[in-house]
Amino acid sequence: MSTKASRSAARLMLAPAVILLLGWMLVPLTLTLIFSFQRYLPLRGGFQGWVGFENYVRFVTSSAFWPSVQATVIIVGGVLLITVTLGILLAILLDQPMWGQGIVRILVIAPFFVMPTVSGLVWKNMFMDPNNGLLSHLWRFFGADPVIWLSDASMLSIILIVSWQWLPFATLILLTAIQSLDSEQLEAAEMDGAPVLSRFWHIILPHLSRAVTIVILIQTIFLLAIFAEIFVTTQGSFGTRTLTYLIFQRVLESQNVGLGSAGGIYAVILANIFALFLMRIVGKNLDR
């Protein structure tokens, strides 16, 4: 299926996509890299000379850095833990015979399609508001003092909101993976007298392991970058300033571009570590 003519046509047709993406990646990334070695404050005199690795050092030694790493790890870890665990259970449940399966699935998946700003604000105001939120009504109904979610339990709140958004994703992918499990294999195990729990451990979980890995990797990459959920709720206060949010603040709010760019490079490196694992798996899949 390849003649010179079709090969050159193919190159020509692939070119726009490759050139655009290359430009999209290289140009800004190069600029970020360049900025990261500068003292560059657009609102306070602009370019003020080259500083070598100073920004990199300052970024990691600033008092905001470690808390932001901590926040990032807790949020990403917490969301992953919740979505993967519940996702597996929910996927198995949804795979069982039941009435109205299609509708239930739609209900479960729906949150994924809610735009991040909406879910952030709906949760913040209508559920987590200490005076008028539904949760405060619930707490009062049981005679408890309402929790001031977004300040007293800020991390938990953010984790909750983001988990609500991403649980459908995990569930959907794990469900798809479960459905590709050969039912004969399960039936054979049932014939062999394997009880439910051991079937879960020895057949379902191993079968899911690849999908779980994929869910973890993809979610990690997206979760490292969550922004709007924090932007519309805590604005990074109460210990919810993640790495992404910190960089955003450095760059756009305090307009310290050099420092923010150094942070950006850290973020790129971090994301690439996960991306590399993901690409290994996806790449293996391509060979099949």
């Binding site: 299926m1 490759v18 993406l21 109205g100 479960v108 998946i109 994924f112 913040k124 790129v268």
Partner: protein, 276 residues
């Protein structure tokens, strides 16, 4: 005996699944319900569920006060435009890689995927700067291009996995039948790939519609889409739950409907074909 056990289990499953399903859906349902309440009913304790004076007032106010339809229009243009633009670029690219693979194809595909993983915040300022330089800040065209670029890898990948399932012999037959490249893609490949193309379009519209980093950071008043419009409610005055709900409902309803159509494709698209 076994039958009743099975029915029992099915009933149990059903109850459990519906319970969880409704819990997951509840925030959306509650938002939708609230959008039809008055502001006072919206915050009443105990909450009112279904028996309140249903009103469309909030929708009217949202439209009048903040010119909702302008944001909606921006969202439509940006999501739709980036999708169309992306498809024009992605279809030929996917065709190349699926039907004229070279030994670099795999690397290119993986590299494309890696660009999707680039954290936006890492390139925020350069893009911001480029946008200012080119006068693209707060324009629909600028945002359209950015959203097209961030979703291009997903589009190419999805189309690639669909095209891979089409036997190359059919395209060769078209070539023998006198079709040029344009005809081959237009009359043979595209119609055969309609389901795949449709799901790619659908997923891409959803992703673009909900994108909330660039839309928040690169727009101000003119080109702001619904994501930014909703974000303006984060610093509210007075009672606003019902209005927030109305605005939110309008912002998510179209995409919820599209989303329900695209569950299956979603998996393939978001996992880059690694789970099918």
């Amino acid at each position: 005996m076994a039958r009743t056990v099975r029915t029992h289990r099915k009933t149990l499953n059903t109850a459990l699944a519906w319970g969880i399903g409704l819990m997951m859906f509840f925030p959306i349902l509650w938002t939708m319900l609230t959008s039809f309440k008055t502001e006072a009913q919206a915050i009443s304790d105990p909450p009112v569920w279904f028996f309140f004076d249903w009103t469309l007032e909030n929708y009217r106010v949202v439209q009048e006060r903040s010119n909702y339809s302008r944001f909606l229009w921006n969202s439509i243009i940006i999501a739709g435009g980036s999708t169309v633009l992306g498809m024009i670029i992605a279809i030929p690219a996917a065709w190349s890689m699926a039907f004229v693979p070279s030994n670099r194809t795999k690397d290119i595909l993986l590299w494309m995927l890696s660009t999707k993983m680039l954290p936006a915040v890492g390139v925020l300022y350069p893009i911001y700067l480029i946008f200012i330089q080119l006068g693209l800040l707060d324009t629909r065209i600028g945002l359209t291009i950015v959203l097209m670029l961030i979703n291009l890898p997903i589009m190419v990948w999805m189309l690639y996995t669909y095209f891979k399932e089409i036997p190359g012999e059919i395209l060769e037959a078209a070539r023998m039948d006198g079709a040029g490249l344009r005809e081959e893609i237009l009359y043979v490949l595209t119609p055969m790939a309609i389901p795949g193309i449709a799901s790619t379009v659908l997923l891409n519209i959803i992703l673009a519609w909900n994108e909330a980093f660039w839309t928040l950071n690169l727009t101000a008043a003119r080109a702001a889409p619904l994501t930014a419009f909703i974000a303006s409610y984060s610093s509210p005055e007075g009672l606003f739950y019902a209005k927030l709900s109305a605005a939110s409902t309008m912002a998510i309803a179209p995409i919820l409907i599209l989303g329900w159509f695209s569950q299956k494709q979603l998996v393939r698209g978001l996992t880059f074909g690694a789970v099918k």
